[in-house]
């Protein structure tokens, strides 16, 4: 009896369509976001995450339409990320139907945003997403969808945003993302051992065992994946059964 491990399918959305990049590039179309969200809800997803991957100013109204469409049909927690720059952006998304927002680049440019947004709306709705790559010693944090390297390392940055009021960390390994070779369990465990807030592991899911290992070895509280669910390679139900067989608590 305890909080269940959460399985979170992620919709990478561009111009109102689900797409999936490999190593943050090559984009392939994977369908209508609202339809996909409904399908995942029926299949037993514990949350839905939607990332607006180009998040341009012009595409903002399309994004909000998509958020509203999903929120009207799906009654499980719903996180939206991409292009959030201000407390007002957070407020607009929450009012449109998001339950949580995920902030990445803007948290690095302006850490105060995390502090202000969590004070205003509560830590529970502020997720800080981190993209990082191993540099031989620790994990360097990147901004702008993995384009620009910063001086930050993932562990100290995650601890910093926890202090600022983040309610969860969404940790994406750039080394693993799109490779289908498993999660970066060392990175995840390093963070999990040092954080009091939940850790969502992302990047690298390819097989059932990868998701189980992300929890058992990586100590993640939740596992996020995109393409394996989109292309129906692995069902959410199968993942949960595998976790349950390992004695982990899941919602079935």
């Amino acid at each position: 009896m305890s909080v269940t491990i959460r399985i979170i399918p992620c919709l990478d959305v561009r111009e109102g369509r689900v797409v999936k990049g490999i190593n943050f590039e090559d984009i392939a179309d994977a369908g209508d976001p609202a339809e996909a969200a409904q399908r995942y809800d029926k299949e037993g997803a514990d949350e839905i995450c939607m990332l607006d991957i180009d998040a341009s100013y012009e595409a903002r109204s399309t994004t909000l339409e998509t958020v509203e469409k999903i929120a009207n049909q799906v009654f499980i927690p719903f996180t939206v990320g991409g292009g959030i720059k201000s407390v007002n952006d957070v407020e607009v998304l929450l009012k449109t139907g998001a339950d949580k927002v995920s902030i990445n680049t803007s948290a690095i440019i302006n850490p105060k945003l995390v502090e202000e947004a969590s004070r205003e709306f509560g830590s529970q709705c502020i997720v800080v997403a981190i993209d990082a790559k191993f540099n031989g010693k620790d994990w360097s944090v990147y901004t702008h969808g993995g384009k620009n390297k910063t001086d930050l390392d993932a562990l100290s940055w995650s601890k910093k945003v926890e202090q600022l009021g983040a309610g969860e960390i969404l940790m994406t390994s750039m080394d693993k993302d799109g490779t289908k070779s498993g999660f970066d369990n060392i990175l995840n465990q390093t963070l999990a051992d040092n954080l009091n807030i939940p850790l969502i592991a992302s990047g690298g899911a390819g097989e059932l065992d990868h998701l189980v290992d992300a929890v058992k070895l990586g100590k993640a509280d939740a596992v996020l994946a995109a393409s394996i669910f989109h292309y129906k390679e692995i069902s959410i139900k199968k993942v949960k059964e595998a976790l349950k067989n390992q004695g982990l608590s899941v919602r079935l």
Binding site: M1, V3, T4, D41, D46, Q73, P77, D99, G167
Partner: protein, 205 residues
């Protein structure tokens, strides 16, 4: 039939409104005391800090209307909407709650090994303690979605309708007469949550 949803100004009420609307129920957002006219049921969805919530209720002149309606209408409290029914909370020692239940809301115990995280966030099992119309069609031990750091741990046994375990046992649903309150969020608990909200729509007292 119209369901009034209290909007005291610091809580995301939209998902509750959306969930009721998806079930075909008509809702009315209540921001001032005069909005309380012509409603048949009352929902109080709350998030954030209890002190801030109680302060806003008084500032916006909602407290008296709420107390009056609590005596007459079927009431569903969600999350903070459960906690304000108690007399006090460790979260805000200066602000007094509504006192339907005389006990105190307390913070979760902390665990040094980080195995129990606070806030209690995620899906957890709701173990029924006694039957209630609101539980119709639902099974005990099913998961519902929680987000909170404070909880009801002590209350007269007869008001406890479910318990949940997060490092320690707490009361995840309490009820008395026309009042039913859940610590979890039915509006975010998928099919089970919608089932519960439908029962509230159908509940006659």
């Amino acid at each position: 039939m119209k369901i009034g949803v209290i909007d005291y100004g610091a809580s995301n009420i939209f998902s509750v409104v959306r969930a009721f609307n998806s079930l075909g129920a008509s809702t009315k957002v209540l921001k001032k005391s005069k909005d309380f006219e012509n409603i048949d049921k009352l929902v109080f969805p709350g998030q954030g800090s209890m002190g801030a919530c109680l302060k806003k209720l008084s500032e916006n002149d909602l407290r008296d209307s709420l107390i009056f309606s609590l005596k007459n209408l079927p009431f569903l409290g969600i999350c903070l909407g459960l906690q304000i029914l108690f007399s006090e909370s460790e979260e805000s020692e200066d602000e007094k709650g509504l006192g339907i239940f005389p006990e105190k809301i307390k913070k979760f115990s902390e665990f040094k090994d980080r195995t129990i995280k606070i806030p209690h966030m995620g899906w957890n099992q709701v173990e029924f303690s006694q039957s209630h119309f609101i539980w119709e069609g639902l099974e005990s031990s099913k998961d519902f979605y929680f987000v909170h750091s404070y909880a009801s741990k002590e209350i007269d046994e007869k008001y406890i309708y479910s318990k949940t375990f997060h490092g320690e046992s707490f009361n995840s649903a309490v009820a008395k007469d026309n009042i039913f309150a859940t610590q979890f969020h039915p509006e975010k608990s998928g099919k089970s949550g919608l089932n519960l909200l439908q029962n509230f729509i159908d509940w006659k007292i």
